[in-house]
């Protein structure tokens, strides 16, 4: 189907923007939840993301059917997140030096996971087979069915998370802890177990993002770093701790990135985003819907 060039490029940018945005959303939600409730930056997030892809890969190699691999991958990533939370994070929660300690601890976890993956799977690029093969073209844009699956799955998950956080008891508890820790304690909300829930959920989401994107792009053991960086940008742009803001921000950043790539040049995408972020941090440090913690001196 031939369409005018301008529309063609627009479509290209829109499609990859929405695709990227969906995945960033899944990753960023986890980060913003951890930040909101634990007041911690989880540097292991990228590793959890890539672990999802690799667990799926490994499970496939063992011969399990494809749809099942999604569940196992998410479970695997969630499990790693659980271990990190229980072994590394919980012991240091009460320490006075917990900010730097948590940075180091999550960084350490990230290294351990990545090098374990490297040892187990080797360093060559891999890819996961798609759930649905094929696609269709509009102009020069290839819209693969798998891509639509990814977008659909991500959107569903994001909506579910939103609902969970706003309607369910535990979701309310997580939001309560983010907004006022002492008050949350006084409501009888168990703090440490809720942290574990947050971490596990966040890890599971990251793993899901990894599996989804792994079926479209290639991945390597160190491939989680850049998506994590983008997720961090999204989290900050959307406002630390705000889930609604994060979802909006994910798609905005995703679209921004793809528009930059299509209209200016692929190598300008990343620098452009970072530049935008720097400008934004200087002008409006709280992000879109920020719950307000970036203080200027």
């Amino acid at each position: 189907m031939a369409i005018p060039d301008a529309l063609d490029r627009l479509l290209q940018a829109l499609y990859s923007g929405v695709l990227n945005g969906s995945v960033y959303g899944l990753m960023a939600i986890g980060l913003t939840l951890i930040w909101g409730s634990l007041r911690m930056l989880n540097l292991a997030h990228g590793a959890l993301y890539i672990a999802g892809a690799y667990v799926a890969y490994g499970v496939l190699a063992l011969g399990l059917p494809v749809p099942l691999t999604f569940g196992v991958a998410v479970g695997g990533a969630a499990l790693i997140g659980l271990v990190v939370q229980v072994v590394l994070i919980t012991p240091i929660l009460e320490n006075p030096g917990r900010d730097s300690a948590s940075l180091i601890a999550t960084l350490a976890a990230s290294i351990v996971v990545q090098s374990a993956i490297l040892l187990l799977f080797g360093g060559q690029t891999k890819q996961l087979p798609p759930l649905i093969d094929g696609g269709f073209t509009i102009g020069t844009t290839l819209i693969s069915y798998q891509g639509l699956v990814v977008i659909g799955a991500a959107v569903v998950c994001l909506l579910l998370m939103s609902v969970f956080l706003h309607v369910s008891r535990r979701g309310l508890a997580i939001r309560a802890i983010s907004q006022n820790m002492d008050a949350a304690k006084l409501m009888g909300i168990p703090i440490v177990p809720t942290f574990v829930v947050v971490m596990v959920t966040s890890a599971g989401l990251a793993g899901l993002a990894g599996v989804l994107l792994g079926s479209i792009l290639f991945f390597t053991p160190s491939g989680g770093f850049t998506p994590m960086l983008m997720a961090m940008v999204v989290t900050i742009f959307g406002g630390l701790g705000s889930v609604t803001g994060t979802i909006w921000a994910a798609y905005i950043i995703g679209l921004m990135e793809s528009f930059l790539a299509v209209y200016v040049g692929a190598s300008w995408a990343l620098p452009g985003i970072f530049l935008f972020m720097i400008v934004m941090l200087v002008i409006r440090p709280n992000g879109l819907f920020g719950l307000g913690e970036a203080r200027r001196l």
């Binding site: 930056l41 180091i104 601890a105 290294i111 040892l119 990343l270 440090p285 913690e293 001196l297």
Partner: protein
């Protein structure tokens, strides 16, 4: 601190700012700012003689040249580790841009000496200067913001620089591997190639000594106290008249200077400025050096670098497992002994041998936990 709501300083963690520190004025240096008065000159003398004579001795030994190489590596990374520790451990600025600044130094002198043709001894001094400029450029927007934003922005800078250097114009990217033909410092003509490393050793020693001394002076000055106060409780320090931003910017630039210098030296010593030094593995290595030795202490990074440099050699066969082991080590330290080896050993040392020393005088005035440094009876362990 990352995300701390503005609240009262945690009791016991706040140092009383020395009189004269308020409003940023400096009065007469207190005894703690003249620690050279307490140093054992004998110890320094012995160490100096040993360090000066070592490379010559090593040329006589089989494989000695390799050990010299290791020590030079130790010099290079020891500088960077100390600089990074100054920012992160001592002042609590969570910057991950140290490696990028190192590369700025390396590539600056590399390009200047190779592509432009400057004498390496001239271009090497451009390295720290450009690094400082880069630090100021990053620091101005970044250092006004709180913890998590600094992490992100410096990581972004690292990534951006890596991207540009790797995929950029040929004169800098060398096809993605970096510069592979950086001119050396011309030592091989002095006494012959077998003594080449000796001179690199001395150059490295001088740089290392300069950096270490400068950092030592800063840590033991009122400025150093201000930095520690900033780390422990920024709100309190601000309320006492310490301007965090200017201090942070100064510190950032200061540590960039020596890091850039180390990068430049490394480029000329190795004869290349490699893009592989952007790898996360290198950053982890560096981080472990600081964390293992003693986060925020003076001797910590030095000890950590020494341990790691020689350990890396021993474990060279197990390279794949090395990074895994480093990760596990870091995790263990973060949970079990976040202060690192130096403070741990110092405390153990004191517990064992305290009976030989006079007891410290009881802590005075506002601070509950920290003993007044002036009354410390044992000489400062570096």
């Amino acid at each position: 601190m990352i995300g701390e709501d503005a609240e009262a300083p945690r009791p016991g963690h706040v140092l009383a700012l020395p009189p004269g520190m308020e409003r940023g004025t400096l009065t007469r240096l207190r005894p703690t700012a003249r620690p050279w008065a307490e140093t054992s000159w004998l110890a320094v003398g012995v160490i100096t003689v040993v360090m000066l004579g070592l490379p010559w001795a090593l040329t006589r030994v089989d494989g000695g040249n390799y050990i010299t190489h290791l020590i030079i590596t130790f010099f290079v990374w020891g500088i960077v580790a100390q600089c990074w520790n100054l920012i992160m451990g001592v002042s609590g600025i969570y910057s991950f841009g140290q490696l990028a600044l190192f590369q700025v130094g390396a590539f600056t002198t590399g390009v200047l000496s190779f592509a432009v043709g400057l004498n390496p001894w001239v271009s090497i001094w451009a390295a720290p200067i450009v690094a400082v400029i880069a630090a100021l450029v990053i620091g101005l927007p970044t250092l006004r913001l709180r913890g998590i934003y600094v992490v992100l922005l410096t990581l972004a800078f690292h990534e951006l620089l890596r991207n540009w250097i790797t995929t950029g114009p040929q004169w800098i990217s060398g096809g993605g591997y970096g510069l592979v033909r950086v001119p050396k410092l011309g030592f091989e003509t002095v006494l012959g190639p077998q003594y080449e490393k000796v001179f690199y050793y001395y150059t490295g020693l001088v740089f290392f000594g300069l950096a270490t001394y400068a950092i030592w002076r800063i840590l033991n000055s009122p400025i150093g106290l201000a930095f520690t106060a900033l780390r422990d409780s920024e709100d309190y320090a601000t309320s006492r008249g310490v301007d965090p931003f200017r201090f942070k910017l100064f510190l950032f630039a200061f540590s960039a200077f020596f890091t850039g210098l180390a990068g430049g030296f490394s480029a000329h010593y190795n004869g290349s400025a490699s893009t592989s030094l952007f790898d996360f593995g290198v950053m982890i290595n560096l981080l472990v050096m600081i964390v293992l030795g003693g986060w925020g202490t003076f001797a910590g990074p030095i000890v950590g670098t020494a341990i790691l440099t020689f350990l890396t050699e021993l474990l060279r066969a197990f390279d794949l497992y090395r990074i895994l082991a480093l990760g596990i080590a870091m995790a263990v330290i973060a949970v079990a002994a976040p202060e690192g080896l130096v403070p741990l050993c110092t405390r153990a040392f004191h517990r064992l041998f305290d009976v030989f020393f006079e007891p410290d005088e009881p802590p005075a005035r506002e601070t509950a936990d920290q003993p007044n440094p002036e009354t410390r009876s044992t000489p400062r362990d570096g």
